[in-house]
């Protein structure tokens, strides 16, 4: 009875936050409070136990990496790179699309998806305006950037919430995840770009004229004429990020120096490197929304865990009359579908409780990379499935983009849908293929 109640609260909260994203925090914090009350009243658990079960390390990493991303943004590195990309591609719509998608993939591997979008999207929208992009081209450009954002975030253990969740919960090491996930995500990204270039060809209505191209380059040169990278900000941030990556890769887990401790020390050291900016960032730019979102989620998932529901689900998965690698493929697909409905953070948090059911039968690397790829595919399915989608939508609305005929360029659910379907299908196909391969070759590569 208590299990049914707590599962119902979890599902209702997740569905409601997906339907009314503008009230996401209210819904989830209410859901967490109700879960706590029900767990207490039914004797399933207590608030103290639920709070003790929260993976605080994940929250530390979310806050710390968010602050590091703010520092990288303040260095103006990404704006300068966007200006260089326009010049390097000659503002050619074809090359621009590829450069923006590829660039977003790389940036998202280092900073979280929301920060990556906030950094890269504004100059891209200026270029879309300058080259006279039509609606179709603009939609594909923006949509591909969101998909690239999700894939880039999944390619490293620090790129986005689900990956941070994997690293922070200690189920897979930094190095093992990076070695296995990065190539898989890169292949999926390449497949999406090639499919778009050969099949969709969204630039057909935006064949840039020589005049528009020349003006686009001159104007971008003007807008970025003396925008320089602030090395005094970039240097401590980049140095500490590099140091953290090395530490994550080489410090053994048994030392007790955990991923979140490395992250905490590294980010604080970077902030001290520019003390005045660092203090201001700490006081004003902590991502409270992300922390509350995840905290509420962990409490609800913790309450359901206390009922034994996840163990039951894991037992059902383990008992399925399928080969182990097919069970993993099924879990990957389920992760994709669940993420499409509930969004990435909740799906990963819940499925992390189920995935260990396969750990005796398959290499951990295959299991968790499969889970990450499934979640990534789901994040890319619908505009509402990942937080970066609504953010991009509101940024485009605010920018007031218009096409060459002066009609407003809309970027919403329907405009994104074909891009999401294509991107999601490719990511899922590559992900399922990759886990089947990883299940075979991981032990031979020395991966757990």
């Amino acid at each position: 009875m208590s299990a049914a109640l707590l599962v119902a609260v979890l599902l209702a909260a997740l569905l409601a936050q997906a339907v009314w994203p503008q009230a996401r925090l209210l819904i989830l914090t209410l859901g967490a409070a109700v879960s706590g009350l029900l767990a207490t009243l039914t004797g399933t658990s207590g608030m103290q136990q639920l709070l003790a079960g929260v993976p605080w390390g994940v929250l530390v990493m979310v806050v710390a990496l968010g602050l590091l991303a703010e520092m990288l943004a303040m260095s103006r590195l990404f704006g300068v790179l966007a200006g260089l990309a326009v010049r390097a591609t000659g503002a050619d719509p074809r090359l621009l699309l590829i450069a923006c998608a590829g660039g977003m993939f790389l940036v998202s591997g280092l900073v979280n998806n929301l920060t990556a979008l906030v950094l890269v999207l504004p100059p891209v929208m200026v270029v879309l305006q300058l080259i006279g992009a039509d609606r179709r081209y603009a939609s594909w450009m923006l949509g591909l950037m969101i998909v690239a954002c999700n894939l880039g975030g999944a390619s490293t253990p620090i790129g986005d919430f689900p990956a941070i969740l994997l690293l922070g919960s200690g189920v897979i090491s930094f190095g093992d995840y990076l070695v296995a996930a990065m190539p898989v995500c890169a292949v999926a990204m390449a497949a999406i770009i090639v499919t778009t270039a050969l099949w969709i060809r969204p630039w057909r209505g935006t064949e840039g004229s020589a005049i528009a191209t020349r003006i686009a380059i001159s104007t971008m040169d003007g807008m970025y004429r003396r925008v320089h990278v602030d090395w005094k900000v970039l240097a401590p941030a980049a140095l500490m990020l590099a140091g953290m990556i090395v530490a994550w890769a080489v410090v053994p887990g048994i030392s007790g120096v955990t991923s979140e401790l490395i992250c905490w020390l590294g980010v604080i050291a970077a902030l001290i490197g520019r003390a005045r900016i660092g203090e201001r960032l700490l006081r004003t730019r902590v991502d409270v929304e992300a922390v509350l979102f995840l905290l509420a989620l962990f409490i609800m998932v913790g309450a359901v865990r206390a009922t034994g529901a996840f163990e039951h689900l894991a037992g059902w998965l383990a008992a399925l009359p399928l080969a182990a690698d097919l069970k993993l493929a099924l879990l990957t697909v389920v992760a994709g579908l669940a993420t499409g409905v509930f969004s990435a953070g909740p799906s990963m948090a819940a499925l992390l409780e189920v995935a260990p059911a396969l750990s005796g039968q398959l290499p951990a690397t295959a299991i968790y990379v499969g889970l990450a790829m499934g979640v990534c595919a789901g994040s890319s399915l619908l505009l509402t499935a990942a937080t970066s989608g609504p953010l991009a939508q509101s940024m485009v609305d605010r920018a007031g983009l218009v096409d060459a005929q002066g009609r407003q360029i809309r970027f919403g659910f329907t405009e994104y849908l074909p891009i999401g379907l294509m991107g999601s299908a490719i990511i899922l196909a590559v992900g399922v293929g990759a886990v089947l391969v990883l299940a075979e070759v991981a032990p031979r590569l020395g991966l757990p």
Partner: protein
């Protein structure tokens, strides 16, 4: 000759962050490079009514003037003794010439403008020499060593300023600043109604430099 249809919105984006005149010279130069005088004529026909500063620049271009004649020395002289400067309107070329020559000057630009701009990016081009302020903060910058600088346009038949100037051209503001300087960055008469700008009288300013 038909120019690409998206140029109007491209000009809007460029003028928002570079200034009407600076963007207009870029457009005239680039269109001329690809399509010659006929292209500049077409640019004037297509966008001139909507953007009068662009129209005036095209007229100048077709008359053989290939770049703005911009003397910052007169403006620098007019600012002698000022430690604090509040700027109304944006003209990136002019500010690029002025601000490096005025070291130690506390310069701020009013972000109240009819065209959208990414002000973080605009300011990043001045390497810390320029900050942004809102209308309500202007009077806090008043004082005996403080000046207002407004970019204006137009010839003998009338002087035109960004609408923000009208918000500051009252007796309360006039008395609070040491100098109110107009810098005419396009001393050419307008052939079309100067949309986006407001007519001002030269006596609104203590000094008009060109």
């Amino acid at each position: 000759m038909i120019l690409p249809p998206g140029l109007s919105h491209a000009f809007r984006a460029a003028a928002g962050e570079l200034g009407y005149a600076a963007a207009a010279w870029i457009f005239a130069r680039d269109v001329h490079a690809e399509a010659g005088d006929a292209g500049v004529g077409a640019l004037r026909d297509q966008l001139g009514r909507e953007y009068p500063v662009l129209d005036a620049v095209c007229v100048s271009w077709l008359a053989g003037i290939r770049a703005p004649v911009r003397e910052s020395a007169a403006c620098i002289a007019a600012l002698a003794g000022c430690r604090r400067l509040t700027i109304v309107g944006l003209e990136s070329d002019a500010l690029d010439a002025l601000l490096p020559a005025m070291s130690g000057l506390d310069a701020a630009i009013l972000t109240y403008a009819p065209l959208p701009a990414d002000w973080d990016r605009v300011l990043a081009n001045f390497d810390g020499a320029l900050s942004a302020i809102d209308l309500d903060a202007v009077l806090a910058r008043a004082g005996s060593d403080s000046a207002l600088l407004c970019f204006v346009y137009g010839g003998d038949d009338g002087l035109f300023a960004p609408p923000a100037w009208l918000r500051l051209d009252g007796p309360d503001v006039r008395a609070a600043f040491r100098a109110r300087i107009a810098w005419n960055v396009l001393p050419t008469p307008f052939a079309v109604y100067p949309r986006w700008l407001a007519e001002v009288v030269p006596t609104s300013f203590t000094t008009v430099v060109a």
